[in-house]
Symmetry: C2
Subunit: 219 residues, 2 copies
DNA sequence: GATTTTTCAGTGACAAAATCACATTTATTA
DNA sequence: TAATAAATGTGATTTTGTCACTGAAAAATC
């Protein structure tokens, strides 16, 4: 197995012993997950720590009614650190992950990461740092939800996708945006139409073209 | 200084060296904060790790418009662990704390806790565990906000205060509940009136008496 | 290639909740 | 006691969420 993946994902990699590295390399499994594959985390159920080799995944919470709200996305090289927290101290939150593209997922088993965590201060530091960062992200999201109106959350979602895509043509349905903005599809439709008549976007089936990103940012 | 405070607050206390304990004991400062005193955390501004010697404090986020939403409360013996995270890796979240009663607050300076954190695995483990726990709490709160209606959040807030007070007579204004439930005061007034006519609570100025906690729990 | 099925978007009606603008009542303080 | 502040009550309006559909476009199937 190519260790570049680990070297890039883990800043502590260089500080590990040969044995520790081998332990990781020999126990990590690779999975090819097709687009739309879903994984569930929570209730103590955590396979281990995951690294996204390639592709994009969406992490979200699911309502009792079935709807879901996006928390964040994982891109190439990202580490699903909440799995670590979930597994280290039985963090009792329920999360789901869905592949937005075909993905290569590498999984370091629970026990292997746990052992590493116990042995290495650098791994502890890394884990702490990543969890704190995620915590910050979630708090930011919380702020958006409780203090911003729907229009600005939708605008934010559009701009985030623009950053991911690296272009103004977003292949998104209203449903997709609804999940990111934490609202209903019909509401997105209405507000996007408003955006369109204000000259901010152009709407086509399954596609949204951003015309005026600057004004979107001001909403 | 009495070390019982630390012994009770920190499970790692026994594992520290004499020197480390002395370091904490000699550098911790005690402050008496009157009811309504406010402290701000964020933007790298963290005095250190705080232990509530006695009293009760409310931790919340503040909206640009001035309103605020309660995240959690700290009671006797609790440790304000987010300060730790804030200070360890510059977690960039803005939080405020307000004393709900007169409080004794003990502060372990940033540098002292940081040093301890670097030296002791037990302190790292403790810090990690506490942060994960807080993370879980916040995620739970997030779920409540995005998936529950206002009535059930208000019912939840009432029951939480009942648990804190240990009785059915709650000295709370509608404003107080609005902050806990993340809604407007008028909305609380209306829903409480509904609760009252349903025989769940009895309302007096500045006081809410819970009549039927069981039914409240079902909302 | 035509037909069926699925996905996506649009819309009106209504309900829930937030916001605004006050009025009223009860405590506190001067 | 009067004046002030704090807590509550209420109507009107706007925003957002929910429900129940319709029609259009794309995909899958025949």
């Amino acid at each position: 197995m190519n260790t570049d993946l680990f070297k890039n994902a883990f800043p502590f990699w260089e500080s590990l012993t040969e044995t520790q590295r081998a332990e990781i390399v020999n126990n990590t499994t690779k999975n090819l997950c097709e687009k739309k594959t879903r994984l569930h985390f929570g209730g103590g159920e955590c396979a281990g720590v995951q690294i996204i080799g390639s592709g994009r995944a969406r992490v979200f919470i699911t309502s009792p009614g079935g709807g879901d709200i996006t928390l964040f996305r994982l891109l190439d090289g990202d580490v699903s650190i909440l799995s670590a927290a979930c597994m280290l101290n039985g963090m009792d939150i329920e999360l789901d992950m869905e592949m937005e593209t075909d993905c290569e997922i590498y999984t370091i088993p629970k026990k292997v990461y746990r052992k590493l965590y116990d042995e290495s201060g650098a791994v502890k530091d890394y884990t702490m740092e990543m969890i704190s960062e995620k915590f910050s992200d979630i708090m930011w999201l919380f702020n958006q939800f409780v203090f911003s109106n729907v229009a600005s959350r939708i605008a934010g979602a559009l701009l985030e996708h623009r950053a991911i895509e690296g272009g103004d043509e977003l292949k998104l349905t209203h449903e997709d945006i609804a999940k990111d903005a934490g609202t209903a599809r019909e509401v997105v439709t209405r507000i996007l139409k408003q955006f369109q008549s204000d000259g901010l976007v152009k709407l086509t089936r399954g596609k949204i073209t951003i015309i005026d990103a600057k004004k979107l940012g001001k909403i």
